[in-house]
Amino acid sequence: MTNTKSAQSTSKEKVKGTSTLELTRRRFLRSPMAKVGGVMVLALVIVTVFAPFFAPYDHNQIRLGKAYVPPQPIRFIDHEGRFHLRPFTYALTPGFDPDTWQRTFIEDTSRRYHLHFFVRGWEYTLFGLIRTDIHLFGVAEGGSIFVLGTDKLGRDLFSRIIFGGQVSMSVALLGAIVSALLGAIIGALSGYFGGWFDMVVQRIIELLLSFPTLPLFMALSVAIPVEWPPLGVFIGIIMIFALLSWPVLAREVRGKVLSYREEEFVMAAQALGATHLYTVFRHVLPNVVSHIVVVLTITVPDLILAEGALSFLGLGIQPPLVSWGVLLSDASTLETIGRYPWLLLPGIAILATVLAFNFLGDGLRDAVDATSTV
């Protein structure tokens, strides 16, 4: 072992600074789409992790008097044409449309509420540790800033989208991670050992891949008992995603491991007395890690879409937990979206997130593929 290590380090010195990782990084940074995707994903993760800081309101706070408020414009110029350096919103007075019998909200131009940053608002605990009430933005007491409007119970849609992102993103990320682990382990073992184990695994993979995924997700999520608490359903959905998504990766890892099985470094490890399991996880699997990361990145957007569809159909995440799919299920009838079109906005969040992960995954795939000439 020491010999191979020193041999590695001398070869590293010869080609200084161009390790595989460095080459991958360079290829990744050469693609503008990959960079855009990376930055978007990073931003999404930050917003999701610090959700209460970015949300101006508590996403579950009900205001019956403020139901279905349309998105409030943030203004710089007031009704008299004067420019204000600090943006503001007008106060809302409830009105009534005699034609449609609908409640309307009229901007009261006499009362301006200026936008402030790092304001104190509702209290929250970050990571269960830090108690604080600082929010990125907000307006003074008495005013309101419903950037994307409110829903049927007067809950702030913008805050709900941010908190919905927490659930949607963690379902997809955890589901993808567990399925990648399963896929990598099963695929590696199946490729390395072959024999009857490989036979059985291959049949299971074939079986799972012969079903379209969404109907399977739907059928299995019905099996989650209705008595379960929302958090239990949340974990159940993650498990369903993980248990049905591993075959693709397992098949690819198996193929790679099969091709590595007869390589010299595996034989060397065996000759030096390494056990089979040690050889697989210490020597074979690391060669496939980049590939696993790529598949992981590509699985995340698929699962975000799947969660959206499931929850939209009422089979996924259950209220009071909010996810983007749950939010969109409020907008499922023509009457609702006709009157309150802003309820469709959570769909944009899904679209943007999936787009970001697709950009990132595509860039990563090209970067990891040493033969690509992007």
């Binding site: 079986l207 012969s210 379209p212 969404l214 059928a219 569809a309 679209l351």
Partner: protein, 331 residues
């Protein structure tokens, strides 16, 4: 060729048995059955006492054989399908499953296959344009379109189309016909009305596929265009059009043909969601309702049929591939 098809069909038999068993397992996974649903409805709406309702439900279970052990129920179900083409009884519709399914399943396939056809056609054409005009303005636009197409949630697209068509164009949306044509006999204007409704689900289902085909076609054609035989053809003075369409495209299109079968699940999944949003008389809304009420023979049969469609379409794709690429020998 014939031998190959027969061999593949024989290989498919164990897969089909596994598929049917797995479908049945999944559909039976939820606790309770349709009678449990009925029992709850009887107590909640018909004012029956819980004990009475349970008695009634147990009697119904005995009549429909739901009190039998799992394997017996599976055995009865599958042997009825094989021997009589009887997929069981739909409790929700109070009719045999096959009566409920066939027409709707046909419409589901019609939407999915139309979307498939159009997405292959348009995807391949845009892909060829993108590859031959690499890094042009049009290529960038097509690539961006492809990314958005792949990232667009189907149900969201369906909602947006519904909103725009209904409130900005004043069109009737949902279903396959406007109310005035729903029960009318077929005529030219009814057909036009049908097309006006039909393109919406086809677009929703086919968008992602178009994007995928476009990206695959672009990448492959770029690879092929860099190969030596294309350079030779160009060097010999062949017209660029002939080089691309007669020589390059022929090789670049093979992965698309190979994926004709593999992409079917995406189309069928897309159709399920789109039809639920647009309230189409296809399998989507029925499958959802069957799952929610645990109408298990209906849901299970549909799940199994989906998988069978996939097995068949993979077989067809293999046959198509051998036709497109004569180098492939199956026997």
């Amino acid at each position: 060729m014939f031998k190959f098809i027969v061999r593949r069909l024989i290989y498919a038999v164990p897969t089909l048995i596994l598929i049917s068993f797995f479908s049945f397992v999944i559909i039976n996974a939820p606790p309770g059955d349709y009678m449990t649903t009925m029992q709850n409805v009887l107590v909640a709406q018909a004012g029956m006492s819980p004990a009475e309702a349970r008695q009634l439900a147990d009697r119904m279970r005995a009549i429909y054989g739901l009190d039998q052990p799992f394997l017996v129920r599976y055995g009865r179900w599958i042997s009825a399908i094989v021997t009589r083409g009887d997929f069981g009884f739909s409790f929700m519709y109070r009719r045999p499953v096959s009566e409920v399914i066939w027409q709707r399943f046909g419409m589901t396939l019609l939407v999915a296959l139309s979307a498939h056809l159009i997405s292959v056609l348009i995807g391949v054409l845009i892909g060829i344009y993108s590859a031959t005009h690499r890094y042009s303005w049009g290529d960038h636009a097509a690539t961006l379109f492809a990314f958005i197409g792949l990232s667009m949630p189907g149900f969201f697209l369906a909602l947006i189309l519904m909103y725009v068509l209904a409130f900005h164009f004043g069109q009737h949306v949902g279903g396959f016909f406007s109310p005035e044509y729903a029960l009318a006999p077929w005529s030219w204007s009814r057909f036009v009305d049908f097309l006006q409704h039909f393109w919406v689900p086809v677009l929703v289902v086919g968008l992602a596929g178009t994007a995928r085909n476009m990206r695959v076609m672009r990448a492959n054609l770029l690879d092929v265009l860099n190969s030596n035989y294309v350079r030779t053809a160009k060097a010999k003075g062949l017209a660029p059009r002939s080089v691309i369409y007669k020589h390059a495209v022929r090789n670049a299109i093979q992965p698309i043909v190979m994926y004709l079968g593999v992409t079917m699940p995406f189309l069928l999944s897309g159709e399920l969601v789109a039809s639920t949003v647009l309230n189409l008389p296809t399998m989507g809304p029925v499958f959802l309702a069957a799952l929610n009420t645990q109408d298990m023979y209906l849901a299970g049969s549909f799940l199994m049929l989906l998988a069978i469609v996939l097995v068949i379409s993979n077989l067809l794709a293999d046959i198509a591939l051998s036709w497109v690429d004569p180098r492939i020998r199956y026997d």
